[in-house]
Amino acid sequence: MNARVRGATEATATVNDVNDIDDVVRRAQRGDVGAFESLYRAHSPAIFALCRRMVGSDGEALDLVQDIFVRAWERLTTFRGQSSLATWLHRLGVNVVLEQLRSSKRDALRLIEGDDTTFGSRSPGGQVEARIDLDAALVQLPSGARTVFVLHDIEGYSHDEIAQMTGIAPGTARAQLWRARRTLMRLLDL
């Protein structure tokens, strides 16, 4: 089960415990800030996890969560319920994060060209740390590789979808993914 599906299931269950999700979404769509706050509280942990994994920093991830939920508020009336709200929010979140990454010249270059120089980066002591936490390992990946890895292996997007979203060629996305996996295997001592 990828993160999009898992996040949707968990968040839906959480809101269902409190209220009927359709009613909460409808109230939020009509401008009820309190209802939107309920949605924020139900979905923000999954959106934060997505952002943190994609950008590798708590501070940046928190800023992005803010941007994503403001954008969600602005576009909530376009949500038609064909997918779950969690899936819709996830997709919106990925787009906001990618916009942010593209807006940074450094990261944009990494997305397009890849960045081999920091692959397999080691701890300050020069030794690959054994069995470190996945999220800590993700932080050590270059931005482009991390983005592709998170989108493909965690979020479940296809290479074609990733290529469309990021503007890189599908072949480049594959190469980034393979390198990211190899680096993570070393960092996680697998």
Partner: protein
Amino acid sequence: MIDAQSHLTEEERQAVADRSLPAEHLPLIEAHLRDCAVCAGDVARIRTLMTHVTEAPTPTTITPSLDELWPAIRTRIETSKVVPLSPNAIRLDGRRRARRVGSSIALAAALVIAAVALGLRARAHGSTSTAQVADTASLIAVADSAHAYEEEAQTLLNQLELRRSMLRPEAVVAIDHDLRVVDSAIAELKEAIAHDPTNPALRRLLASSYRQKVDVLKRVGNAS
């Protein structure tokens, strides 16, 4: 032909590990994996990583910070409720209006809240304060444009009723939903204007709401 000496390529190892290998290549690759411990071991390690990723818990340690984030989000939302209207907004050409329809419904929802906020503020300060800043000529112009859009919307609505039976049921549901949102905004604005008839901001919001209704109806006309 892959044999035990030549080993699988990186692409083949990765693809077989994440099960994206084309089905026609699978028998050959699986045969190689049965004979080659190096490739089989490597594929198993890639799969271990993927399992590790799938089973990794979602980080939740930051939850208190997420709670602290809400007031800032709320402030940004509240600020965005009062939508500044461009003086040229009502002179947009047809194509630009059509492109803006997607966002117009969201704007309509914001207009309802803006209307209420403006109405409440006007009532709190008394209507004389808004009367002082109201430009009579501008008021008349805005009211006229609202009236013109209202008439255009009614004409389009009549055309929609004639075509309704030819539209797909899901399209009818979507159109009715959009129209309800805009009509709700219009009703709220009319009520607010009844309490504060000289408030130019409310008049502009009403004109904008009618324009959005026209946009929705024109979209239907173009699609059918």
